[in-house]
Subunit: 404 residues, 2 copies
């Protein structure tokens, strides 16, 4: 396996197709310090694409660990204002953004008291959510293999296996990755269009320990990968991507849901997560491990206890087909259907980008500084849509997509 | 050699004595990405000292190389405003600052066209100079050994040898490093006091290829390590430190000077540098290698061609005694006497911190966005002071300090 070539190809795909960097743009990259080789390749590819300046923020989870272990509790929710300024300036300048995912040590924060861990949301930044909602920035998120991540996933540091999986998910193993991506995006967009034409009012998830009704907002759009900035630049926010998704009505979630895969939450692995909702709010959190990390995070603000996203994925996902839990949301959320508590996507609504907070509240689009996806789909979970008139429309049965 | 323990001791000395972090402070750390182990130790030591937040900016010289090789020329002098904002906010907040020096690859930019290299001053920031001049921040700079640096210095990656040298320079090999530092600082302060009492008007350097007169500003102070912030916090700006220094009159440098050691200038090694000055300005730059990097940098602004610092070091320096060129200014400038072109230290003048730009110009305190030290002292270079009245006062003869 020629990792140098693979790394270059991956960087080029990320820059050219994912972020779709335009000549003259500033490119903001955020990555774990362990991703240094990839960051250098991304930087090179960005300048080759005509970037004006590549601005890298290396994140080091060990420093977060030090903070959580040592700093005073009342300081933990503080975020450096200059760092928020970074995304604000990038938004103003219409820059591009690349985030490298793939936590090198998913269990690093496991022994941090969860009530403290929940207070520090970094590296998540409010300004980054604002940047996303502004539609001024062409952005993407990709994952990058490290030995420590491979070890956490496979039980041994088999980085070549992780590279193999990643290249398949990224279509880097095809003769023409860009063409393969175009075909794939066409499929996903057709699914989103079919859902929009169905005019659903509610989605029902049904399976073992799961009986969940997620109410939708009239007029909200189902979306698939491939966004366009307000100034007309296409980009693919998440790579890989296998989902169609929308923002539900935050007031209309009812019932119980059991996660079908473990969730890696900022250094804590949450297993067998079960949530109960009433009138949109989470009223019960259980898990066989990591429940306190979820409870801590859901104390961040009122929106942290309500849904902001519902997303559908069937067995056609190459990620789901491996059966592996990658302990990274970017991959795991594309293995199967999922929901997220926390911030919704304002731009699922017509005019949502410029909507006031009270307009968003009226619609039922959730506002929060957190956004945590967790996986609830799989072979035993059927998904059914209902229209306002009560018509029942099967969406996913036996893990196979139904709607065309 | 127990490097883990040494690293922890080094980090503790840096945080407690160098930066002298106060409880509740924000600590801004800047380091090369290759210094990750040390940064983690510094972060831990800072939180143990009561830091409110430790804010790390990892620098990656490979990204600078990509920029210099690929970005358009008119973009190269741009600096991210949010990064300038970082030091401005730190100054406002009265934070602490630690910079880790020790370029892991001193020759990385050797093949970059020098006229381009001179345009990009990063990671140097205007806001950092402003921070230093504000006297609001307790700051320090220390060096950290890496294998690549050891290889550049010794011709082999003998990191234990570099650690051995560094621990000696940092007095980490003494039973009580803090006490050893206090004794050392007392010696340096006595030298500065003797120079101030001598009331010099001019310093003359005389040796092979060197006949240089550096005019001083009436009322300017000679300083030694150990600063105090405007709000009363002591700190040691550079560790190690062996120098006494002041800001000369930028208009009164005359003659020729030959560097006595190579200079590592942001990825280019400059050998046998020779500068000629008239009326304060550099009028000729020669070198057996790297002259263009100097010429490029001196085009940054008018101040880049004038002196901002003159500093005296004799053979008592343990750094000078090794005879090694460490390719890092923090160490090399403490091996022997040196001068710097570029920004002067406003706080060498009474009231200099709050002085207007025109007041600084009147005094002759240089303003520039660059500040580059290079070494001009050694066994063959004598240093003599002259008072306004023409009295001749030997300062360094045969590399031995004369003034008590």
């Amino acid at each position: 396996m020629d990792l140098d070539k693979l790394r270059r190809d991956y960087a080029t795909l990320t820059v050219r197709l994912g972020a779709n960097v335009a000549p003259g743009q500033i490119v903001a990259i955020m990555a774990h310090i362990e991703h240094v080789d990839f960051v250098r390749a991304l930087t090179e590819a960005s300048y080759e694409a005509g970037a004006r300046y590549v601005d890298v923020w290396y994140w080091d989870a060990h420093l977060k660990r030090s903070r959580l272990m040592n700093a005073t509790e009342d300081s933990l929710d503080w975020t450096p204002p200059w760092l928020e300024e970074r995304y604000r300036q990038l938004t103003e300048e219409r820059g591009a953004s690349i985030v490298v995912s793939g936590d090198p040590e998913p269990d690093l924060l496991a022994d941090v008291p969860p009530e403290r861990a929940g207070l520090d949301s970094m590296p998540r930044l409010v300004s980054r959510l604002e940047m996303v909602n502004s539609e001024q920035v062409n952005w993407t998120i990709v994952a990058y293999p490290t030995k420590a991540w491979a070890e956490a996933v496979f039980g041994e540091p088999d980085i070549e296996r992780l590279w193999g999986d990643l290249s398949a998910f990224m279509r880097l193993d095809t003769p023409d990755p860009v063409a393969a991506w175009e075909a794939h995006l066409t499929t996903l967009r057709a699914r989103a269009q079919a859902l929009n034409e169905a005019g659903l009012d509610l989605v029902h998830f049904s399976g073992p320990h799961t009986d969940l009704r997620v109410g939708l907002i009239p007029g909200s759009h189902w979306q698939a990968a491939g966004f366009t900035t307000a100034w007309g630049r296409t980009h693919i926010p998440n790579m890989p991507t296998e989902e169609v998704f929308t923002t539900p009505d935050m007031r209309r979630t009812e019932g119980v849901v059991r996660a079908t895969k473990p969730l890696a939450l900022e250094g804590t692995i949450v297993r067998d997560l079960e949530l109960e909702f009433r009138n949109g709010d989470v009223v019960r959190v259980d898990a066989s491990s990591g429940a306190d990390a979820i409870r801590g995070q859901q104390k961040a603000d009122p929106g942290a206890r309500r849904l902001g996203e519902v997303a559908l994925v069937d067995r056609s996902s190459p990620i789901g087909r491996t059966g592996v839990v990658y302990l990274d949301t970017l991959l795991d959320e594309n293995a199967t259907s999922h929901i997220a508590y926390g911030a919704g996507y304002a731009n699922a609504m017509e005019g949502g980008k410029d909507a006031s907070e009270s307009q968003l509240d009226d619609w039922g689009v959730n506002r929060s500084k957190v956004h945590t996806d967790f996986m609830i789909g799989g072979p035993e979970v059927n998904v059914t849509g209902f229209t306002k008139e009560g018509e029942e429309i099967p969406l996913i049965v036996d893990n196979v997509w139904q709607l065309d």
